[in-house]
């Protein structure tokens, strides 16, 4: 699209102190080269609507704070160029399927609570080794490939906003929590499948996902939570049919002791702290 001279931002405003429900407000500002939706919101706040509220931080698509519903699709405001929307009317609303705290600020606490409930961390028996490591846990490149994609999640909530099940069911764990739980189930260093299974085999598991695929379409980091959830279902179904045997978590590789310094590599300088 050729750059417009002006851009109209149609913003969903909501003030919890007032008795009024959320309502649209239109603001037209001049377009600047390379303007992202976040840039536009900043300009509006600085020059026209000082009370406008939203979350943002890194402005470069790595923190996950600025997830919003932009022109009918959940996106990161910092990652969305105005020109890529193909129109000079930019509709900005808070992420759907989360309660609105104020203006464009969604309440993401249920998202994080559901995430925590599915144990998204390494679970192993050797707790001593985890806190006082004597070496590293072995992981081949092939093992890393099984979960690396899912580890790119920035917890922005765009997947939950796009999911049709999250739209109606507040108890569904949601794509982010399930994908992150699978990220650890698929990690060869982890031994926690049996513990997570106690939760995943219940209604908190992936059973309400019906592969609409919208979460993967919406994800700004290519995490593909839909893939993670289907792989999780496969693991759980095969486990129920007694066709899945949980592999042992990877072992510790002790630090090498027989390393000799090459003659042409100097010693490091003495520590100063």
């Amino acid at each position: 699209m050729t750059a417009p001279a002006n851009v109209t931002f149609r913003i969903r405003r909501y003030d919890p102190a007032s008795q009024r429900p959320p309502a649209w407000e239109d603001i037209t500002i001049p377009y600047a080269d390379g303007m992202t939706v976040l840039d536009g919101l900043r300009t509006i706040k600085e020059t026209r609507l000082p009370s406008l509220s939203w979350r943002s931080s890194c402005r470069m698509g790595v923190c996950g704070s600025c997830g919003m519903f932009i022109n009918g699709h959940p996106r990161l405001a910092c990652n969305t160029q105005v020109t890529e929307l193909g129109t000079d009317l930019v509709t900005v609303a808070p992420l759907p399927n989360f309660a609105i705290i104020r203006d464009l600020v969604p309440d993401l606490r249920p998202l994080f609570d559901k995430h925590a409930a599915l144990m998204p961390h390494i679970i192993r028996d050797d707790v001593q080794e985890m806190y006082e490591p004597t070496g590293e846990y072995f992981q081949a490149p092939h093992d890393l490939e099984q979960f690396l994609q899912f580890s790119y999640c920035i917890k922005c909530g765009c997947c939950g906003a796009a999911c049709p099940t999250v739209a109606t069911d507040s108890e569904y764990s949601g794509p982010m929590a399930l994908a992150q739980s699978h990220r650890y189930n698929a990690d060869s260093r982890d031994g926690g499948f049996s513990a997570r299974k106690q939760v995943l085999a219940t209604e908190k598991g992936p059973w309400k996902c019906h592969y609409a695929g919208e979460c993967s379409q919406a994800c700004p980091k290519g995490v593909d939570p839909a893939r993670a959830i289907q792989l999780m279902k496969r693991q759980l179904v095969f486990d129920y049919l007694r066709l899945y045997k949980q592999p042992c978590p990877s072992t510790v590789v002790p630090k090498p002791t027989e390393i000799k310094r090459r003659a042409d590599v100097p010693e490091a300088p003495a520590a100063t702290v």
Binding site: P16, A167, G213
Partner: protein, 145 residues
Amino acid sequence: MLDNKGHPNRLGVWGWLGGGKWGFERYLYTLHRLTGLGLLFYFLLHIFVTSARAFGAAAWEASMARVTGGIFVIGEFLVFCAFAFHAANGVRLVLVELGWAIGKPIEPVYPYRTSVHEQRPLALGIMVVAGLLVIAGGLDFFILH
């Protein structure tokens, strides 16, 4: 610390229907639900209608006489179409949801190629199969009889 729960903002059933931007697999998901409900409704009635065969020829003929005629033929054809779609899409869902047709996890490099893209050829092929079944059924229902 927040003490209010925030203004509700759930899409509800509109979220099943698209909630904004439509995706092909979302159409399939919604249609799979609608055809499933249609087939279930028909099936529950079908159990009663066909139970007449346990009572002899007269009961059977009377039961069948109640469900023949113009609107019932069209209705049955719609049930056949619903079956064709639901079965074909169901095969796709078994392959996808048990992790066979979605490809392996990859390092995401923009533009991202997700599992949705991986299974898209299967989804299109399945729709062709469903379409062929509908055509075959249509021939049998309306032309060859």
